[in-house]
């Protein structure tokens, strides 16, 4: 089982998301995350899909997606240089002044924006790789009792420059 990424161009139509996600549940494929939004062409949506599967199943997933009339293009991002980011909001609640200071410190180290603050809570906004976000959540959980997290799932696009050629999501932070 390996984590793999697919970029999927689909018709921006009613029911397409249901059809794509239904494929994963109906055929017992392991879907990790799925994000979707329109592209520069508003009739087309682009999905970033993360699955964890073995090689044979992954081939089958790509073929099954390709079979769908509403799917325009399937791009395997698993082994190509890409830029990938995930948006994450983390609200740290019930903070003392010392806690707040620590949150600010963490924010500085993680290059995280402090986007809101109240009497006893701080809101962090983080745009990073999925792995970096995981690390941030783990750290916050270990330090504070009461946190609230929402994350958007990763979006990815192929790299332009050669500076990160050969690097994939696995070896980049």
């Amino acid at each position: 089982m390996k984590k793999r990424w697919i970029a999927l161009y689909v018709e921006n139509e009613v029911g397409v998301l249901a059809k794509v996600s239904g494929l994963f549940s109906g055929k017992s494929y392991n879907l990790q995350s799925l994000t979707v939004g329109t592209t520069e062409d508003e009739t087309i949506s682009r999905m970033t899909i993360c699955v964890s599967s073995d090689d044979v199943t992954f081939e089958q997933i790509k073929k099954q997606l390709n079979c769908m009339v509403e799917v325009i293009k399937v791009i395997d991002l698993s082994n190509v240089p890409i830029h990938m980011k995930e948006i994450l909001f983390a609200k740290v609640k019930d903070c003392s002044s010392e806690d707040k200071a620590e949150v600010f410190q963490i924010a500085q180290v993680f290059h995280v924006e402090v986007s809101d603050i109240g009497k006893d809570s701080v809101l962090l906004e983080c745009k990073a790789t999925e792995r970096r976000n995981n690390e941030l959540i783990a750290l916050l959980k270990s330090r504070f009792h009461h946190i609230e997290v929402v994350r958007g799932g990763a979006v990815a696009i192929e790299s332009i420059s050669t500076s990160c050629a050969g690097k994939t999501e696995y070896d980049r932070k």
Binding site: K63, V69, I72, K73
Partner: protein, 574 residues
């Protein structure tokens, strides 16, 4: 610019442009407008079945027999949900259908309105494509897409959900001549490099074998396949859907392989060194235990559907291509191969364990099948699902003039009789013989009325053994004869531990002869071998549907058999 016309008018126009002359339709509140439109068109005949499940199986039989797209019209809600089994069946067996379901008006969708269901959502995984028309201006393109998608590539069922207000709303009058779908580009060529690689492998084989699936029949590549087989001298086994791809009496034809395949065919698959398969998805009924499937062979796989390749069986040479095109190309290279020893070996296996039923205990299914072979030189044989189906796949002889229609992938009981009616409606000049069991026959028995009003001369052979035989066979072999829920004579007061037929068994219901007669059809009962031929003679002469009920031995089983999940070489033979 043409003037605007209503959706219903454009719908009728679309059917005419697509060359549709027969539609299978059942009325209801949300299709009254398009039905009313069809009333005005003499050139389109509407067949009214007695149940929507019967309707869609009729459309499947029609599509299979004619090669055309079967068109269904049903209403919203229950009308739509009743065709779901047929959609799944057509999806499994690659049958081109366009199914129009009525839908509540757009402003009521989502309100749990009367007879509203989300049929597109429900059928997403059992249709090739499904869509609700939400804008009148999309109607023309959507219908064009539906026919195009249904009949091209790997054919399949397409569902178009048509809200009532779209049917009456004015809009563009144009029905497009062509359609370009950016996400749908069915394969229409052959990768020559891959095919050459596959052929080279085949040529190097000492024990080569063709495994032929339904794809060859769908591509109508039967004659070309026969030519290829004769040129290369390579033996052929088929799947159930591939049966008839070459004449069953052909010297290079071994038989069906799979769960109830011929001994020699399964042995050939197990022993071959190159398995060249065309148009099959290596369904579990063909492979048995995947680890033991064709263990000595390198496998070449030709299929039009990319997703069918290397899915169940990982193959050595995958080739995405239409079966017909691939075979045609191979004919250019084909040379005779030295297969004499291999063919002799296969014939020896066949002699060792021929396909044969005991003949010492009355009228056997094999005898009936042999009579059908003798009585009908040409025609369409349609089966239902169960033991009779397996016997038919084993014993029915096919050639260029005989076609075989069966529910292979989904195994839908209740398919046979309506499919036979549909086949007859599509091919009125051909003799249509339906082989069914007493269980499956009762699943769509109401279609007798459809057959009557259509004056469809279908000869239905009901193999009555008083049981749901296929499951009972498993109980007989693997569950200590505990015949739970398979005896169709069983009544409330029967003993719980009944181990099979005995003199105190209650009578069987229904009386198929009287049942046929109650519809005005012809009914006959055959209890011994001598009566078989006269029954068929009589059946051929009468008009309308005929039911011949054959009283076969109650505990007859289908052999050989491979237990589900076992290797194909482990056959139960006795």
């Amino acid at each position: 610019m043409a003037l605007d016309i209503t959706g219903r008018k454009l719908f009728a126009k679309a059917l005419i442009e697509e060359g549709v002359d027969i539609v299978f339709g059942y009325p209801g509140g949300m299709v009254t407008d398009i039905m009313d439109e069809l009333y005005k068109h003499e050139e389109i005949e509407l067949v009214l079945p007695r149940h929507e499940q019967g309707l869609i199986h009729e459309a499947e039989g029609y599509a299979k027999a004619t090669g055309k797209v079967g068109v269904c019209i049903v209403t919203s809600g229950p009308g739509a949900t009743n065709i779901m089994t047929g959609l799944a069946d057509a999806h499994s067996d690659s049958i081109p259908l366009v199914c129009i379901t009525g839908q509540v008006p757009l402003n009521l969708i989502g309100n749990d309105a009367f007879q509203e269901v989300d049929i597109v959502g429900m059928t997403r995984s059992i249709t090739k494509y499904g869509v609700t028309v939400r804008d009148r201006k999309d109607l023309g393109r959507t219908l064009k897409m539906a026919f195009h998608i249904a009949r091209t590539g790997r054919p399949g069922p397409v569902l178009v959900d048509l809200p009532k207000d779209i049917q009456t709303q004015p809009g563009p009058a144009e029905y497009p001549k062509t359609v370009n779908i950016r996400g749908y580009k069915p394969n229409e060529s052959v990768h020559i490099g891959q095919l050459k690689k596959g052929y080279k492998l085949l040529k190097s084989a000492k024990k080569p074998l063709f495994l032929i699936g339904g794809g060859v029949n769908i591509a109508k590549a039967n004659e070309k396949l026969q030519e290829l087989v004769e040129k290369t001298k390579i033996p052929v086994v088929t799947t159930i859907m591939g049966k008839g791809a070459i004449p069953t009496t052909h010297p290079y034809y071994v038989g069906n392989s799979g769960m109830h395949g011929r001994y020699a065919a399964n042995m050939a698959v197990s022993e071959c060194d190159v398995l060249f398969s065309i148009g099959t998805r290596f369904n579990d009924r063909i492979t048995g235990d995947l680890n033991e499937f064709a263990p000595k062979a390198q496998i070449v796989h030709v299929d039009v559907d990319t997703a069918s390749i290397s899915r169940n069986v990982v193959v050595d040479v995958p080739i995405v291509a239409d079966a017909g095109l691939a075979i045609e190309k191979m004919l250019e290279w084909a040379e005779p191969q030295k297969t004499d020893k291999w063919l002799t070996q296969i014939r020896e296996w066949d002699k060792e364990n021929p396909l044969e039923m005991r003949r010492d205990h009355g009228m056997t299914p094999q005898m009936i099948m042999e009579h059908i072979n003798e009585q009908f030189d040409e025609g369409i044989i349609v089966t239902d699902v169960g033991q009779h189906q397996m016997w038919a796949t084993q014993y029915i002889e096919l050639n260029e003039k005989k076609k075989f229609i069966t529910s292979g992938g989904l195994g839908t009981m209740g398919f046979g009789f309506p499919a036979a009616i549909g086949a007859k409606i599509g091919c009125p000049d051909k003799e249509v013989i339906c082989i069914s069991g007493d269980g499956g026959m009762q699943m769509n028995i109401q279609e007798l009325a459809t057959a009557m009003v259509q004056d469809a001369h279908v000869i239905v052979c009901v193999f009555n053994n008083y049981y749901l035989g296929m499951v009972r066979q498993m109980q007989q072999l693997f569950y200590g004869k505990r015949y739970e829920a398979t005896c169709l004579r069983r009544r409330k007061n029967c003993p719980r531990d009944c181990k099979g037929p005995n003199p105190s068994c209650p009578p069987y219901e229904p009386d198929f002869v009287k049942l046929a007669e109650s519809y005005g059809a012809t009914g006959m009962r055959v209890t011994k071998e001598e009566e078989i031929a006269p029954a068929f003679e009589k059946a051929k002469k009468v008009s309308g549907p005929v039911i011949i009920e054959f009283m076969i031995a109650t505990e007859e089983i289908v052999l050989p058999m491979v237990k589900s999940g076992n290797p194909m070489s482990e056959m139960i033979l006795k």
